[in-house]
Amino acid sequence: MIEIYDLRRIYRMGDIEVRALDGVSLEIEKGEFLGIMGASGSGKTTLLHMLGLLDEPTSGRIVIEGTDLSLLSDYEKAMFRLYKLGYVFQDYALVPDLTVMENVSLTAMLRKDRTEGQYRKDSVEILQKIGLYDRRDHLPRELSGGQQQRVSIARAMVNKPDILFADEPCANLDSENSRMVLELFREINEEMQQTIVMVSHEDWHKDYFHRIVRLKDGKVIADGTNGSSAH
């Protein structure tokens, strides 16, 4: 489903060259719940940004379902993100002036293959699933951090994306809310066969992943199923 070939991302800060990703190659299968783990600065977020079309690699290729991402124009990338990908951010990243319902519906409203009735129905269903339907008319600031993150997941899931990316979604949450969010991801993955790629630096999160890729200094140092961590 996702093929990554010799991916490199080099930042230049004056004379200094920082290799955020240094030759990463991976394959991610459909329906996997993949955890990308590593210490701060290991390149895990950079990798996620490359996969989510939020940044461009210095070299290497990413192919998602047969589409070479390097060949897409800006507009095609935007449409690829809209139709194929879902994204959950560390800081929820909800639009503060939109209600919960509007935040969840926002990207669905843009899709040409959805009628108003369809996206409303999908939004209601996903809000019911995450248990926030009764807060649908509230603004994000009126919700707790855990609730906001669940809304963020609902927004990412409403379009039924091929791949869901999550960038340290529990970083700002307490352990109870973190567990709730991880359970939600697991449920989505199991019930809907949703491919999920999640970045985390919390070791206890690994219990939720099918497969864990560990990065260090921009390189894959371990790749294996949960418990094995073999490469």
């Binding site: 940004h49 989510g52 939020l54 940044d55 800006d74 507009y75 935007a78 449409m79 993100r81 809209l82 139709y83 990908l85 879902g86 994204y87 951010f89 990243a93 639009v95 503060p96 002036d97 939109l98 509007e102 926002l106 990207t107 409203m109 843009l110 899709r111 040409k112 603004l139 927004r155 990412a156 379009n159």
Partner: protein
């Protein structure tokens, strides 16, 4: 850019205005409204002054068309025949002659030099509203002799000392008083003041009127000549039509429309007004453009992270750009609407409280076309001012935007 994208852009814009900073929205609308008012106020004033002067010139000086002596001649001659010809022409309401003569007015200890005008009062009624401007006494009749009507400024105010007078006067002549008039040809006669008027037009308010019959006594012969003839057009007939007709009918005197005369006398003033109007318009547009540019720039800078996130979740940059574009459009429309309301209230206020000077009075004269054209200019300027920062920020790459 499809309907769905525009709908999302509009939703984002509306929600940002509804749920963002109220004070910022209100202040921006107020600034646009004040800019609009600034743009139309001075031109409106100058329009009003121009309209007012034109009306006064038409009403008290030249009518719609002025017939004056041809080059090298002192008077319009063969007056009766000329008047008969003009008054018989289609489109002519009435033609009436004016004849002025210098005179010295004496009343008690006061002596005042003026140029008095001789008119045919009944014909004059069809041409000039002077007869409606009597503040005491009555207007002249055709056969009146030994009677005079004076401007209020000439009659004077007995409560104002001579040294404090703005304009020299007779110090408080009242209707029924007798004044002595010493004409330039030496003829001296006592006149009874029949009426006192005030028109608000300087040239008329610094003179007095006697009848043509009386002037014939002064001159000692029938007046078959005049300084000029004023012609009033019937409603629906243009000045140009009357002028062309007069020339076709063989009126050999100099024929000029009010527009011709004002173009000569007011040309420089109108040019100056136009320059001031342009400056006012330019300043208004620049202020609005800069203010909206700053407002939208601040908004976009404050929302850079959110813009990055919107792009990250698949919202196209055009939607983001139009979001800010719609915000500017809404702010500009509301500002212009408030500006129109403010201007309309000012128009009403100034109609009842005009700015009055000895030469002219001014309120605010704006046509619907003035309001529409200024609204459009301001709207276009506002949209450009808003779209430029919106376009700039929407082009920023996701990583840069999200890191901010």
């Amino acid at each position: 850019m499809g309907k769905k994208e525009l709908k999302v852009a509009f939703l984002l814009a509306m929600r940002s205005l509804q749920r963002g900073s109220r004070s910022s929205v209100i202040l921006t609308i107020l600034i646009v409204a004040m800019c609009f008012t600034n743009m139309v106020f001075l031109p409106g004033m100058f329009n009003s002054i121009g309209q007012n002067i034109t009306k006064q010139v038409v009403d008290y000086e030249v009518g719609n068309v002025l017939i004056s002596p041809k080059s090298g001649e002192q008077y319009v001659t063969d007056l009766d025949a000329t008047l008969a010809l003009i008054n018989g022409m289609p489109g002519v309401e009435r033609a009436t002659p004016h004849y002025s003569k210098a005179a010295t007015l004496k009343y008690r200890q006061r002596i005042l030099g003026v140029s008095l005008r001789a008119i045919t009062p009944n014909d004059e009624k069809a041409v000039s509203p002077l007869y409606t401007k009597m503040i005491s006494g009555s207007y002249l009749g055709d056969g009146d002799t030994g009677e005079i009507i004076l401007a209020k400024m000439i009659a004077g105010d007995p409560s104002v000392k001579e040294e404090y007078e703005f304009q020299a006067s007779l110090g408080g002549v009242r209707v029924g008083d007798s004044i002595t008039v010493e004409w330039a040809n030496g003829y001296t006669k006592d006149y009874r003041v029949k009426g006192i008027y005030s028109t608000g037009y300087w040239a008329t308010d610094t003179t007095g009127y006697v009848t043509k019959s009386d002037m014939e006594l002064v001159e000692g012969r029938p007046l078959d000549y005049a300084d000029y003839i004023t012609v009033k057009a019937k409603p629906g007939y243009s000045e140009k039509f009357i002028k062309d007709e007069l020339q076709q009918y063989g009126v050999s005197q100099k024929v000029q429309t009010t527009t011709d005369l004002l173009a000569k006398s007011m040309g420089k003033a109108l040019q100056s007004y136009a320059i001031i109007n342009m400056v006012s318009l330019f300043v208004g547009i620049v202020i609005t453009t800069v203010v909206l540019f700053i407002v939208i720039t601040i908004k976009t800078l404050n929302s850079r992270k959110q813009i990055g996130i919107l792009k990250a979740i698949g919202v196209d940059k055009a939607v983001i750009m139009h979001n800010y574009g719609f915000q500017v459009i809404i702010l500009a429309l509301l500002g212009i609407a408030c500006g129109i309301i403010m201007t309309s209230l000012l128009m009403v206020y100034m109609t009842y409280n005009p700015i009055v000077t000895p030469d002219w009075s001014a309120s605010l004269y704006l046509t619907p076309m003035d309001l529409i054209s200024n609204s459009l200019i301001l709207f276009v300027a506002a949209v450009i001012a808003g779209y430029v920062p919106a376009w700039q920020v929407s082009r920023e790459d996701i990583q840069t935007a999200m890191r901010s």
